[in-house]
Structure formats: C-alpha cells, structure tokens
C-alpha cells in the first residue's frame, strides 16, 4: 500500500508542472477563452452546446482557488500605489473572475436556467480605468496611478456592489460618475448591464 502511494506521488510529481501564481492566472484566462469558443464554436451561428456543465464547475473551482490568493492588495485598501507587477496580477485576477461570472450568466440564460446575483464579488474594486490599464510604461502607469490617487483622495473606493445598486434613470451619484468617467470598455459593459 505504501509502495503504491509512493509510486503515485512520484508519478504525480513527475506529471504535473508547478504553477507559479502568474501561470495560474494565465491558465484561468486561457480556460475562459476556450470556454467561450466551446460555447460559441462557429461565428455568427447560435450556440450549440459543446460547452458542458463540468467545465463550468471546474472554472468556479479554479476561481475559488485564485481568489484565495487574494483579490485586493493591502496598498489598494490603504490608498497608496502598489508595485506595478502586483497590480497587474491582481487586476487580471479580478477581471477574469468578473468575466467568468458574466460567462456563467450567458451559459445559464442560453440553457434556460435561472441566473444568480454575483454577491461574492460585491467587495471587489470595479474594473480599473482606461488610463491605468492601458499605460504603456511603468512611468506612465505610476504617474496615472498617482493622479488617480489624488482624484479619489478621501473618497471610498468604487466597488462592484456600488454598480449593482445603481437605480434606474439617467442620474448617477458622484462616485459612480467619477468611476464611469475613467472606465474602459470592460467597465462600460458593466455599467450597461444595470437597471
């Protein structure tokens, strides 16, 4: 029995490469792209169920593990500038997770299943603005981030839950408007999904 376990452990060690957090995020992103292909395999043609429920379960499992690595940086909570590479990693994690929940909504709707609110993600900062996400160099990003910090000084971070509670009508509160002003097309998509 022990021999069996040892052999199995050796085989597993041999078979599976070790993933650093960056590769884990990349795997999550790639899986989501593949899932979209599976759900919509042929362009300009309605979905025809090559995507299966077990993959959705795996995606959520993976999302769960990714979230355990952290979804908000201490620097973000403290309203100071984090290191760029950490910010990129955490932003990718958050955006991919948000995209997964959208994907789940699409899958459920196409299969005539009920859809569920994304309350677990409510605490996440809403997608970062265009200037920050698209900054080409570290210097550009740092400058943009410092400007952003100044703009939002003393104001609570705009989070996903703030998006969810926006009321129907043309008017937004100040924070929502500040966020929208900076949003990229990903953020705009969330704004367009509300009431």
């Amino acid at each position: 029995m022990i021999y069996y376990i040892v052999v199995n452990v050796l085989i597993l060690d041999f078979q599976y490469p070790t993933y650093d957090p960056e590769t884990l995020t990349a795997a999550f992103q790639a899986l989501l792209i593949y899932s979209i292909i599976m759900l919509f395999p042929v362009p300009q043609t309605p979905s025809f169920g090559v995507f299966d429920l077990s993959t959705l379960a795996s995606l959520h499992e993976l999302g769960f593990y990714i979230s355990k690595q952290g979804l908000v940086l201490a620097a973000e909570t403290d309203h100071v500038r984090p290191p760029l590479n950490e910010w990129i990693q955490i932003s990718c994690r958050r955006k991919t997770l948000m995209a997964l929940y959208c994907f789940e909504g699409i899958y459920h709707t196409l299969n005539n299943l009920p859809t569920f609110p994304c309350t677990e993600l409510g605490f996440l900062p809403a997608p970062a603005g265009k200037m920050l996400w698209n900054a080409k160099t570290q210097q550009d990003w740092e400058r943009a981030y410092d400007r952003w910090l100044g703009h939002w000084a003393g104001i609570d971070m705009f989070i996903m839950n703030d998006l969810a509670v926006i009321q129907p009508g043309a008017d937004l509160n100040r924070r929502a408007e500040m966020w929208l002003e900076e949003a990229d097309e990903f953020g705009m998509m969330f704004m367009s999904m509300g009431k």
């Binding site: 990349a26 792209i33 090559v50 959208c102 909504g105 459920h108």
Partner: protein, 104 residues
C-alpha cells in the same frame, strides 16, 4: 463560489434574479469577440493585460491559447468547427484543469 455551478439545480440556492434580456444579448455579442481577438493578435481580451505578453516570457497557458485560438479561427473561416479543433481545445482544457488541480 465553488458551489455556484449547482445553484440552478438546488432548492436552497440563493434567490435567482431575472437577467435583463438586452444585457445578456450584449454580453453574448461582446464575449464572442474575445477568442477572435486572441487569434488576430492585434488586441487582447479585456481581462488579459499587455504586460503578460512582454519580455519573451508569456506564460505557457496563454501562448498555447493564442496558438489554439488561431487554429480555431482558421478553421471556422473554412467551413466550421472541425473535429480536430474541438478535440485539441478540449484536450488542452482538460490538461490545464488537471494541472491546476495539482497545484492548488
């Protein structure tokens, strides 16, 4: 989060919400463009950052994703989602899921 995929099938799930039809249509339209973006390599899906692609050290799952998206796009242009594409993508998905499970 881990149980979310079960929500539609369980009685004790949180209350469901009515998704707005136009919102889901918009999501479908937008999400469908992401794999093609990958295949054309001109811009990235909005949840992938340009810096992940720099310095010749693109993480393997993403470089494979570029290659497979390109293969998929090539085949859809010439008559549909062929078996070879579907099997290859499925195999890569299974591989990723297995590898990830061993790492968490």
């Amino acid at each position: 989060m881990r149980e979310r995929w079960l929500y539609p099938y369980l009685e004790q799930s949180p209350p469901s919400v009515v998704a707005l039809k136009h919102s889901v249509s918009l999501l479908c339209r937008v999400f469908r463009t992401y794999p093609r973006m990958m295949s054309r390599n001109v811009q990235l899906a909005p949840f992938i950052h340009e810096a992940q692609m720099l310095g010749g050290k693109v993480p393997l799952p993403l470089s494979n994703c570029f290659a497979l998206s390109r293969m998929w796009n090539g085949h859809t242009d010439t008559g549909g989602f062929s078996n070879i594409v579907q099997t290859t993508i499925r195999a890569e998905m299974d591989k990723l899921i297995n590898e990830v499970c061993q790492n968490v």
